[in-house]
Amino acid sequence: MTLDDKKRVLQEMVLHRRFEERCYQAYIERKIGGFLHLYPGQEACCNGVMEAARPGHDYVITGYRDHIHAIKCGSDPKVVMAELYGKATGSSKGRGGSMHIFDAAHRFMGGYALVGGPFPLAAGMAKAIQMQGGDEISICFLGDAANNQGVFHETMNMAKLWNLPVLFVCENNLYGIGTSLDRSTAVVDQYKRVCAYGVEAAQCDGQDIDVVYEHAKVAVDHVRSGKGPYFLELMTYRYRGHSMSDSRGYRSREEEDHWKLRDPINILRDKLIAAGKLTMDEFQQLERNTDAYIETEVIAFAESSPEPDVSELEHYVLA
């Protein structure tokens, strides 16, 4: 990444952070319903990997913590927010909600709410790419706890067996809801688990985007060049609770503070300041501009959009 790239990515990451924080507020205001899983703390994971890949060209699939992955693939934040508001202008016309953002035009193939469900779907998309001879790859972002599902193992086996162009990104934030990894999983280093299937794997820091990018580049090149699947484990942390009803009683404030010292946005910001590419004033201005954009464009769009027409309740069930 050039310094210009990094500056652009910093702007995106600030948008990603502020977007999610604004969702939090909208949820408190009861504008957003259901389950809401937020991404702050993990921004370098999605951004680092997708900078090494080709957003909008490569196929991306993930779980329920999906707003930012969609936006990174090219979704309009307005349309994502409208979906969270359940509006007719939302990405799924109000039928999906926070956990089911889709944007087929930008090859964001969805958010799925069954833990582990996307593993075989990602491998299947890779099978389609392989048959159709394209240069895309399939990228699956999931959490650490998803790896305890049977389909994780089934999929690793098939992906390697059939040499499928699929990159599995494990965003290891150390918890599945309120259960820490060492309490749910016998082998805590997730990348080691796929060795049994012969899948190439690596583990790295998920907070410094330069580190994520370097490792993701190796992973993406491996997959795109036809060498088969790759599993990349990124060590990260989510700042907020698992979803909105989580008061985080299972972890200490010291642990949280420790991770916040390695905030992905601050790390990148400070590097750009040190390189003379950015000033603190500029950064603060960026935050203010981002908030203003979210308020006047994103929220305004969601607020002013119409509700779905109840007479269309049964649309989109069958073709």
Binding site: G110, A122, G124, V317
Partner: protein, 327 residues
């Protein structure tokens, strides 16, 4: 019209569709080199190669999900689940991914895949290899369910299912793969919705699907010759969405209904048809509809117990005679 077996009809459909469209693939356990448990993919491996006729590991959830993911990008997989009892392991992907993706994406994505499976009870296979599960599949929005009762339907429904933009579950039967029947020599696409009048009659309607159509036909013949009762037989080859208009039309004509299913009650085709009759044509009825179904037990192994658990044409005849106050 040539007479071919049910499995040959399935094979012909897959072969023709694979030849027509390079995006059609077959997946499943032992379907390739081994030719398929019921021979429905015999010879396809040699013809189309391992990339399109995929012998999968024994990972029903995994390979079903993989096929569904491929279908998002335009591949049309025909996914064979060796026995419907194993489909439980694949249902998360069938229901949560394939059946819901169109809706939860607001129409952006679809899962045009086919799930084929051997359902029904064969002889003495015991509780874990003899379950019927159509009741489960037909209750899922976003999934089509068809169940061919003869080779012509097997051929035509499978071809239509492959071309459908919806996920389709095809419920086959362990005991029917060697059944013979006429299949048109030229290409034939069977409609995925509707029902067929397998025999016309005027006194009572017998509803069947898949194997129970044959109980109904046999019962109708005996009812006619021995009891002077004219039974109409409706073949419900499509279990989702059910043909409400066809059900109404026949019951409005005969004013009596018996539903025969191999699945056990409670919950199932029988209860659903009776609900539809209530909703569509209750005041046409001359008698309360009756369902004939399996006993509510896991399938027993012992031959006599098994025979007692599963109905046949005699049970259908008894139900009809009772309706007419003759038993």
């Amino acid at each position: 019209m040539a007479e071919i077996m049910y499995w040959e009809a399935l094979l012909r459909a897959q072969d023709e569709e694979m030849a027509r469209d390079p995006m059609v693939i077959c997946m499943g356990e032992d379907i390739g080199v081994a030719g398929g448990t019921y021979k429905a993919t015999k010879g396809l491996f040699e013809k189309y190669g391992e990339k399109r006729v995929m012998d999968t590991p024994i990972s029903e959830g995994g390979f079903t999900g993989l096929g569904i993911g491929a279908s998002f990008l335009g591949v049309r997989p025909v996914i064979e689940i060796m026995s419907v009892n194993f489909a439980w392991l694949a249902m998360d992907q069938m229901f949560n991914s394939a059946a819901k993706v169109r809706y939860m994406s607001g129409g952006q994505l679809s899962a045009p895949c086919v799930f084929r499976s051997a359902g029904g009870a064969a002889h003495q296979l015991g509780a874990q290899h003899s379950a019927r599960m159509e009741k489960v599949f037909m209750g899922i929005a976003g999934l089509r369910v068809v169940t061919p009762s003869n080779p012509k339907q097997a051929y035509g429904l499978l071809k239509s299912a492959i071309r459908s933009n919806d996920p389709v579950f095809i419920n086959e039967h362990e005991l029917m793969y060697n059944m013979k029947g006429e299949v048109p020599d030229s290409e034939y696409l069977h409609p995925l919705e509707g029902s067929e009048i397998a025999r016309t009659g005027s006194d009572v309607t017998l509803f069947g699907y898949n194997i129970s159509v044959h109980w109904c036909l046999k019962a109708a013949e005996i009812l006619q010759t021995q009891h002077g009762i004219s039974a109409e037989v409706i073949d419900l080859y499509c279990l989702s969405p059910l043909d409400r208009a066809g059900i109404r039309k026949s019951v409005s004509k005969t004013h009596r209904a018996v539903i025969a299913e191999e699945d056990e009650a409670p919950v199932g085709v029988g209860s659903e048809i009776i609900a539809i009759i209530n909703e569509e044509c209750f005041f046409e009825l001359d008698a309360a509809p009756v369902r004939v179904h399996s006993a509510f037990v896991p399938q027993p192994y012992n031959h006599t117990l098994e025979a007692a658990a599963i109905p046949d044409h005699d049970d259908v005849i008894r139900a009809v005679l009772k309706l007419f106050g003759k038993a």
